[in-house]
């Protein structure tokens, strides 16, 4: 009898966990924020933010390292190495990627905090960065793989934001805390939208992060509504063939998720892993046989001026259907620096997938490639 009661109890617990799983909200798969009884923890893909006490926040970066955020002038709890301690709000930041700096723009802190970048002035389209570099406040530190550490030291950063783990030893030696922004697995859509909430506590800009998240969430809702009743489900591929390498966006990346959400079929849905993941050429070409829309990584600068130009760069690309009778899109130069306008980018991708739902839409982040380059006149 007792055994029966115990079994019934455990079965009931299991049953309720099944039921509860079914009640999961749609946007809850990657982020979680709860603060009912002093417990405050938020997971954002591979990142997390935990407020342990009022003046003590622990964050976990993309490489699984722990950093502690402590307000200026307060005591650092025991058990942390100097390079793990970040005094907040951070006042001087060096960052190594467009994505990181677009997030600073979202929080509205670029002009106040950015002091070093790893791209030359001519590569930038963000006005705050260009003007900061012209004024000499923001300094070019050299390429990510060849940073000038003397110059970095002279800029006295309080935090370095980078995707490159190999610079950690040097930064540890310099006692400069470093946050790794890349992850071993591509960010899903919610993590991509929420990433700014991971960065926000470094600058005490949680409200701005929340406003951004709700803005992007609203744009997603609109995309859902606009594309809900469409009959046409285009097949989409996103990637490129390089010399001896084929790179694509995996199905678990935000791009793959968005395509599915906008009533479309992502051809690499079954591919799992990091962003820009390598797959076999055969697999790429096989998916290319059925695809309707193709997004290339290449920009005009790297040769994506027309379908014919792409085919000339790599003749194998000519075999994919979108280059023959479909549509091909390449990102415009400012696309990769426009993370602060994710809502507009998501809407634009949806408009590309379903032009019938967005009559008169003008592209701002992508360029539809013509069949051939216009002939040059002498």
């Amino acid at each position: 009898m007792k055994m029966k009661t115990a079994a019934q109890l455990i079965t009931a617990i299991l049953f309720f966990s099944f039921v509860l799983y079914g009640c999961k909200p749609e946007n809850a798969n990657s982020s979680n924020e709860k603060d009912p009884g002093g417990f405050s923890f938020m997971s954002i893909g591979s990142f997390s933010v935990e407020q342990i006490a009022e003046n003590w926040t622990e964050v976990r970066d993309g490489a699984g390292r722990t950093l502690v955020l402590i307000p200026r002038g307060t005591k650092v709890p025991d058990g942390y190495a100097p390079h793990q301690v970040v005094r907040v709000p951070v006042k001087r930041v060096a960052a190594s990627g467009f994505f990181e700096i677009a997030n600073l723009k979202t929080l509205g802190v670029i002009e106040d905090v950015l002091v070093g970048v790893t791209n030359k002035i001519e590569d930038w389209t963000i006005p705050e960065v260009v003007s900061g570099m012209k004024q000499g406040k923001i300094v070019y530190l050299g390429e990510t793989s060849a940073i000038d550490y003397e110059r970095l030291k002279a800029q006295e950063p309080e935090l370095v934001m980078t995707w490159d783990t190999s610079i950690i030893p040097m930064l540890n030696e310099m006692c400069v805390p470093c946050v790794i922004t890349s992850t071993p697995v591509a960010m899903c859509l919610t993590a991509r939208m929420r990433f700014v909430s991971f960065i926000a506590p470094f600058f005490n800009r949680e409200k701005e992060a929340e406003a951004y998240f709700s803005r992007v969430t609203k744009s997603l809702e609109k995309i859902r509504q606009k594309t809900r009743n469409t009959d046409y489900e285009p097949k989409v591929m996103w990637g490129d063939i390089y010399e001896k390498r084929v790179l694509v966006e995996p199905g678990n990346a935000w791009v793959g998720e968005l395509v599915g959400l906008a009533q479309s079929d992502y051809m690499f849905d079954d591919v799992y892993g990091k962003s820009c993941i390598e797959i076999s050429l055969e697999r790429f070409l096989y998916s290319g046989e059925d695809a309707d829309i193709y997004f290339t990584y290449r920009t005009v600068k790297t040769g994506a001026t027309s379908k014919a130009a792409l085919a000339k760069i790599n003749p194998l690309l000519a075999r994919v259907k979108p280059l023959k009778d479909g549509r091909v899109y390449s990102p415009l130069p400012h696309y990769s620096q426009s993370g602060d306008k994710l809502d507009e980018i998501l809407t634009e991708i949806s408009a590309i997938l379903h032009p019938e739902c967005y009559p008169g839409y003008l592209l701002r982040y992508f360029n539809e490639l013509p069949d051939k380059d216009p002939e040059r006149t002498m």
Binding site: T11, F41, S43, S46, S48, S166, P169
Partner: protein
């Protein structure tokens, strides 16, 4: 009266019906876990390096809907362990009671084979519990050639003496050309009292008690790679549970050997009778 209650609980805990019930519930729970792991891998990855208690306080507690199956599984495993212990101990007690019935001492000892295997399983489970509760894992330890790092909270220093990467140079697999196919790193690990130089590679960790050092990543992956800086990324683990599950495995093998020996003896006896 209290003895009667204890006996009832003891018999219930060792019941074969309880075993069957627990196994069925475990299957259901593991099925839930399969789907949760597949749908939310990011919630469970940190479990590998942050320890169970810290994980339970953060990811586990913050995502109870997705993680409850794991907490239930731990309860089920605890119940299965108790059930196995009681059941095995009951049978061992019976064996000792009937010791006089065995004419040969060897035959009596061999009868313990399945019980030794059960106890070994419990020791292994205990080892896993110790691992989850007290193991420490230090991730993202980047080492550059000629440089060293210190293991956190210790005086141990690891130096990367030499990094050797083999690249594919043949023509047979075009896409593999100039890509790394094997990496080995020569490390020197020093403590106050001892020093060790050893080769580290994938699936070839270095043991430097109480630490184990594992290779997670390296660069450059190819000769023309964008990551021109050479480095290795190490995971350093301090896992006191290892000795228990290795010990459990040894005991299990002893039990299994005894069981096989007993089976062969029995089989030969049947052959002789025929």
């Amino acid at each position: 009266m209290s003895k009667q209650i204890f006996n009832n609980i003891w018999h219930f805990a060792g019941s074969i019906y309880l075993t069957a019930g627990l196994f069925i519930i475990s299957i259901l729970d593991l099925l839930t876990g399969y789907y949760q792991l597949k749908s939310n891998p990011h919630l469970f990855h940190p479990l590998n390096d942050m320890g169970f208690i810290k994980w339970a306080q953060t990811y586990g507690r913050g995502n109870l809907i997705e993680t409850s199956w794991l907490f239930i599984l731990i309860c089920l495993l605890a119940l299965i362990s108790i059930n196995t212990f009681v059941c095995t101990t009951e049978r061992v007690a019976v064996l000792f009671k009937n010791q006089a019935a065995f004419k040969q001492k060897q035959r009596f000892i061999l009868k313990f084979a399945p019980h030794i295997m059960h106890y070994a399983l419990l020791i292994m489970l205990f080892g896993y519990m110790v691992s989850y509760l007290s193991a420490k894992s230090y991730v993202c330890n980047i080492l550059l050639p000629g440089k060293n790092i210190q293991i956190p909270d210790s005086s141990c220093v690891i130096n990367l003496d030499k990094l050797h990467i083999d690249y594919y140079d043949e023509n047979r697999l075009q896409y593999m050309q100039n890509r790394a196919i094997h990496v080995s790193a020569r490390l020197t690990i020093k403590d106050k009292n001892k020093a060790k130089t050893s080769e580290l590679s994938f699936n070839q960790p270095i043991w430097f008690p109480p630490y184990s050092i594992h290779l997670k990543n390296f660069a450059p992956k190819s000769r023309n790679s964008m990551d021109r800086r050479s480095f290795i990324n190490l995971i350093i683990k301090r896992d006191p549970g290892v000795k228990y599950y290795f010990g459990g495995m040894v005991i299990f093998i002893v039990g299994l050997s005894m069981y096989i020996f007993q089976w062969i003896k029995k089989h030969n006896r049947h052959e002789d009778i025929k």
